[in-house]
């Protein structure tokens, strides 16, 4: 059991780091991870079925501005492992995916906040000591062993303790704590949006933010439809703005010679 958990954690690490290294970071999805874990543990079929089921559940999950509400990857790894290595069954394994994803995500995100809070010295390596080789070395160490280490540790603990532990933890945590955690997951997604919003902050066009909000919430359009609509609106805006600027320039050109004319009129 411990050896299998280690193996699954290693595959998780390998797939995750490979996707990032080859610049395919959005490939870290249940549909990829679950079959990979299944293959490593010798039951590809279960991996495929769990992967497809979890992909459907987590399809709407997005990482926005580096923040995310839940972690589908850790759920995919743990649930596939439990479906294959315990007598939990595929359906029950899929059912505990959501608590695992939120619990694992919270552990991962907060440890990540800590790791990087202690790292202002990475700037000093370059700015004070002018040692770019050391900077790159530290980057590599972070990339492979630190950045997402919390989620690997969390996954390993979940798997090593087994389904019983996950169920025990879930049923022994008081309901109010689970409710609180659940509420914080979606509330903290506001952080990513706020960071993006502050970068775009411009009073003249801030109204478009509310229009986008209403289009999704009240009119129920999908993000794809809103994207097409937005491109149209942005293009109209672009051409109107260019025309306005041209008109402004023309006005300046017309006004300027009149004043110069006065000087010459001696």
């Amino acid at each position: 059991m411990i050896f299998d958990a280690l193996l699954a954690t290693f595959v998780y690490w390998l797939v995750y780091q490979t996707c990032y290294l080859f610049r395919m970071q959005y490939n870290v999805e249940p549909i990829v991870l679950a079959p990979a874990i299944g293959l490593a543990l010798g039951d590809l079929q279960t991996g495929l079925i769990v992967g497809a089921a979890l992909e459907a559940i987590f399809l709407g999950t997005m990482v926005v501005g580096g923040q995310r509400p839940s972690n589908p990857a850790i759920a995919a790894v743990v649930c596939t492992f439990l479906a294959i290595k315990t007598n939990l069954g595929i359906e029950a394994a899929v059912a505990i995916a959501y608590p695992v994803s939120v619990l694992g995500n919270n552990m991962g995100q907060y440890v990540r906040v800590f790791t990087f809070a202690v790292l202002p010295w990475m700037h000093d390596i370059v700015l004070k000591h002018d040692d770019i080789k050391k900077y790159r070395l530290v980057s590599y160490i972070f990339m492979f062993f630190v950045s997402f280490s919390a989620q690997y540790v969390a996954a390993f603990i979940f798997m090593a303790l087994g389904e019983a532990a996950v169920t025990t933890i879930s049923s022994n945590i008081p309901a109010w704590l689970i409710n609180g955690f659940g509420a914080s997951g979606r509330a903290l997604a506001a952080m990513g949006m706020a960071i993006t919003l502050n970068m775009l902050w411009d009073k003249e066009i801030l109204g478009f933010y509310f229009i986008g909000f209403i289009l999704f919430k009240a009119l129920g359009l999908s993000l794809i439809q809103i994207a097409v609509l937005s491109v149209g609106v942005a293009m109209v805006y672009l051409f109107i703005d260019i025309k306005l600027n041209e008109a402004k320039k023309a006005a300046v050109v017309v006004a300027a010679p009149a004043q110069e004319g006065d000087d010459f009129d001696l």
């Binding site: 549909i31 980057s139 952080m191």
Partner: protein, 277 residues
Amino acid sequence: MIWKKFFPELTAEEDKNLTKLANREYMWSLLWENMTGQAKGLVFTLSEFIEEMYKDDPEEKHAAYERQFKYFNTNPNLGGFIVGLVYAMELKRSKDKESMPAELISDIRISLCGPFAGVGDALFQSVLKVVFAGLTMTMTANGNPLGPVLFFVLFGLVQRGTMDYLTYLGYSAGTSVIDKLFESGIMASATKAISVLGLLMTGAMTASVVGFGFNWVIPLGDASLNVQQTLDSIFPGLMALVLTFGISYLLKKNIKVTTIVWSVLGLCILMGFLGMV
């Protein structure tokens, strides 16, 4: 490499450098942290080139690093354009300081990364991912191993291809078009139009990912007040807007992200304890 076909004006050396630059773009999310976003990763991407172009001018090199360590956060795929552009501008500055003011590089960097984040995050995670997952999900559910393989290869190639192509495009824009754009005044309009697009998408994304539901009924004598129903009857999704603008306001007041994260978490657990959520 293959992208040179689309940009015949590039020399073999430029082509080689751009491929190398694009291949170094993987570190952004891995060195992400709250204070400067992906800036550390961006420095990693550019470091080799900055060392090379400013090797005779340590002061300028230092200034370039300082510039690139400032806040940067965007969608990694569309961000390829910004990197190509910034690289071209730094290259120009290293050759002739007068032709490229340092402020221009910083301005371009910060003003493009927001709109690109809004558009790119939505495009890749909720449009393209859904398309490719939809294509391969049935196959996977039926136990066909081709499903995940197709998803990985197709979606992966689109991600990489976008990044590579946009890096070339950004460089090409940086070397030829950007002066003209600035002179003609179209650049300001273009940045603003992209911001319009970014704001629309950010608004829609807020509605889709941020949420806060009260599970709180206040007894009032015989009747009772369901808080969530009341809020919904005023304006659906009101709490998502309140949260986003509240955090936006706190960030503007220079309150640390870490502090806000812990406070929100603590508040949510407290509300859970009081039976409000």
